[in-house]
């Protein structure tokens, strides 16, 4: 996906089916091609598989996380791959952010978990925006562009039904209940987004979403300084890049319109507000 090739091995049907369903549009490189990460989602060793079935995530021959219940194999794969990228791909400045594109320009939605960025991201993709990522903005430090890494959009709890209603044609995988984050389901990335996964784009809008139940949709301009500080907060590896990290984020906010965005349950209004913002000159 995107610039990353992952070699995945798993005997678990839920994982195999999940990959088949969600990554149907992605290319499968030759077995000989360079793989960035070697990931295994497996059963625990020996008889433990039958006593308390769990899924373990291994990367580069070591177990990276505590095992999760076996039914969470596919979400574990997705979280594990996020971790691989966030922990290793320091050639990029990485933000915890959804990224979508319209008319050749990227909209960044950086936010901590629970702000509704994935829901908003899914809603925009439903209305034809191109998906670059629902979770990770990979900023190329030399070119100052966002590198796409289109992968399944992860929806949690109530957002799953909200998106089912808002986007009936969405290809949503099975709901996995009882994870650390509650119920989780993934939306398959549109084939058109996957086809264009080599097209990097510049960020033109930075919108900091905040979901508040029942709140009216409000979009308010913020200063670039404020936006910069919020981007710093949402970066996984800002400090690793030192001065260049600051210069990169400063250049990103310099070239973008920056807004705070509060929205409630009305996704139609939310999408409309963002379409209006991104249609202005």
């Amino acid at each position: 996906m995107g610039p990353i090739v992952t070699s995945i091995r798993s005997p678990m049907p839920a994982v195999i089916d999940g990959i088949g369903f969600h990554y149907a549009a992605h290319e499968t490189p030759d077995a000989d091609a360079f793989a960035d990460f070697h990931v295994q989602i497996g059963w625990p060793p020996g008889v433990r598989r039958f006593i308390r079935p769990t899924a373990t995530f291994r990367v580069d021959e070591t177990t990276a996380f505590e095992p999760l219940p076996a039914n969470q194999g596919f979400p574990l794969l997705e979280w594990g791959m996020n971790w691989c990228i966030a922990a290793h791909c320091d050639q990029y400045l990485i933000l915890h952010s959804a990224v979508v594109e319209r008319n050749g320009c990227a909209l960044l939605l950086p936010a901590p978990p629970g702000s509704g960025k994935s829901t908003l991201c899914a809603a925009l993709v439903a209305r034809g925006w191109r998906l670059l990522s629902d979770e990770l903005a990979l900023i190329d430090i030399d070119q100052l562009v966002v590198t796409p890494i289109p992968r399944p959009i992860s929806l949690k709890n109530a957002a799953i039904d909200v998106i089912r209603t808002f986007w009936p044609e969405a290809a949503i995988g099975p709901v996995v209940r009882g994870t650390l984050k509650g119920s989780v389901a993934h939306v398959r990335p549109p084939a058109s987004s996957v086809e264009r996964q080599r097209e990097s784009v510049r960020a033109r809008w930075i919108v900091l979403p905040k979901y508040a139940e029942g709140a009216p949709t409000t979009l308010s301009t913020i200063t670039r300084g404020t936006a910069l500080m919020r981007l710093v907060d949402s970066a996984f590896n800002y400090t690793v890049h030192g001065r260049r990290g600051f210069e990169t984020l400063a250049a990103v906010v310099e070239g973008a319109a920056c807004c705070d965005f509060r929205y409630g349950g009305d996704l139609d209004a939310a999408v409309k507000a963002l379409e209006t913002l991104t249609s202005e000159g």
Partner: protein, 382 residues
């Protein structure tokens, strides 16, 4: 996997141009091995030193570039941390010897290039331990092992205080008073190490004093021979062999550098190790470094080192374990089993049997009562 493939990391480290004919599967093995051995940054710097980074295909190059960014950031962060430690210890008039990663960095040694490490290690005289600990606590370092058993384990039996962590910066600091545990059969005298310690180069002193001219910089590093001996000891006496590949690369780099810059390095090395009662681990290091990395050890030193080797049949058994244990991968069962066996041996070296039995019993019982830690798998950095 062929014998040639298991050597790719060693070859690429010693001669990056050996990768010129590599295809994708070779690069993949190399990057994976280097990452698993915590040597990706070192590998990247060795490519960069020969201006060969641009010759690497884009996909593996991205990993080398990322590793350089990380290693560079860590070097800066370590200097910042050392400035803070110097401030914390400003009123404690004691020599403070930097060990391992921080020492290599401050001494400006080639071994530090691209090397990443997780904590700062310092050595102070045992008599000053209480003062040093108090001063560090006043500046925000707290113990990261508050359990009473752990406290007793470290304070009574080990060669260091229970590991400390800074409250705000979350940085880890190990304060040692010796190179091996109190309960070990080897007893290197820390006073000898401190008496022979070497001053930091002027550039490092200036860097550490930057912005705080009134703070005394009391840091020093071990002498070249002692530094190599400590590296060997850490490698061959520790119970954890997961970092063995990297430590052997360290030993090779230290030996090559000191052989070229310190007259008499090889002739003083073994006698010094005997004085410190650390001749056995040095003997292993010399043997395996010359075997794996072709370190140019003078023949008479190789012969002399053999005198400190373990007697039959322990030597044969150890060498049979060390071969697989030093390999840069956990993929093969022989490596995993060898490391497990060496884990048990490490504990055996660390304490006499009755203490070991007690320690393992307590550990096993505690594992039962403690729930595994919750983890956040959402892409946050560990």
């Amino acid at each position: 996997m062929s014998a040639a493939e298991s050597e790719v990391l060693v070859e690429a480290l010693s001669d990056p141009s050996s990768t010129a004919q590599f295809d994708d599967p070779h690069w993949e093995v190399l990057v994976q091995r280097a990452r698993a051995s915590n040597l990706l940054g070192v590998l990247a710097e060795r490519f960069a030193a020969r201006s060969l980074l641009d010759a690497v295909p884009p996909a593996p190059r991205a990993h080398l570039v990322a590793a350089r960014v990380r290693a560079h950031a860590q070097a800066k962060a370590t200097m910042r941390e050392l400035r803070a430690i110097a401030r914390a210890l400003a009123d404690v008039e004691t020599p403070v010897i930097l060990l391992k990663g921080a020492a290599y960095l401050c001494a400006g040694l080639p071994v530090a290039r691209g090397r990443v490490f997780s904590d700062v290690d310092i050595l102070v005289p045992k008599a000053r331990l209480a003062e040093v600990e108090a001063a560090l606590m006043l500046s925000g370092y707290v113990t990261s092992h508050p359990h009473p058993y752990d406290q007793r384990y470290y304070r009574q039996w080990m060669h260091e205080l229970p590991p400390m962590q800074h409250l705000q910066r979350q940085t880890a600091l190990d304060v040692h008073h010796a190179l091996v545990p109190e309960t070990s059969r080897m007893r290197p005298d820390s006073n000898l190490l401190i008496a022979d310690a070497a001053a930091l180069p002027v550039e490092s002193r200036q860097d550490l004093a930057a912005g705080q001219p009134d703070v005394p910089i009391r840091f020093a590093v071990l002498s070249p021979t002692d530094m190599a001996i400590h590296c060997a000891t850490h490698l061959f006496c520790d119970e954890d062999f997961s970092h063995a590949t990297r430590d052997l690369v360290d030993f090779d780099a230290l030996a090559r550098h000191f052989a070229a810059t310190e007259p008499g390095f090889w002739t003083t090395l073994i006698p010094r190790a005997r004085t410190l009662q650390l001749a056995r681990p040095l003997s292993y290091a010399i043997h395996w470094s010359s075997r794996v990395h072709r370190t140019p050890v003078p023949p008479e030193v190789l012969r002399d080192a053999r005198r400190d080797a373990a007697p039959f049949p322990i030597r044969q058994a150890m060498n049979a374990l060390l071969g697989p244990a030093l390999r840069p991968t956990r993929g093969r069962a022989s490596t995993r089993w060898a490391r497990r066996a060496l884990y048990i041996r490490g504990h055996w070296l660390k304490m006499p049997p009755h203490l070991l039995a007690w320690h393992l019993t307590v550990k096993a019982l505690r594992r039962e009562e403690e729930a595994p830690p919750a983890n956040d798998a959402d892409g946050d950095r560990a």
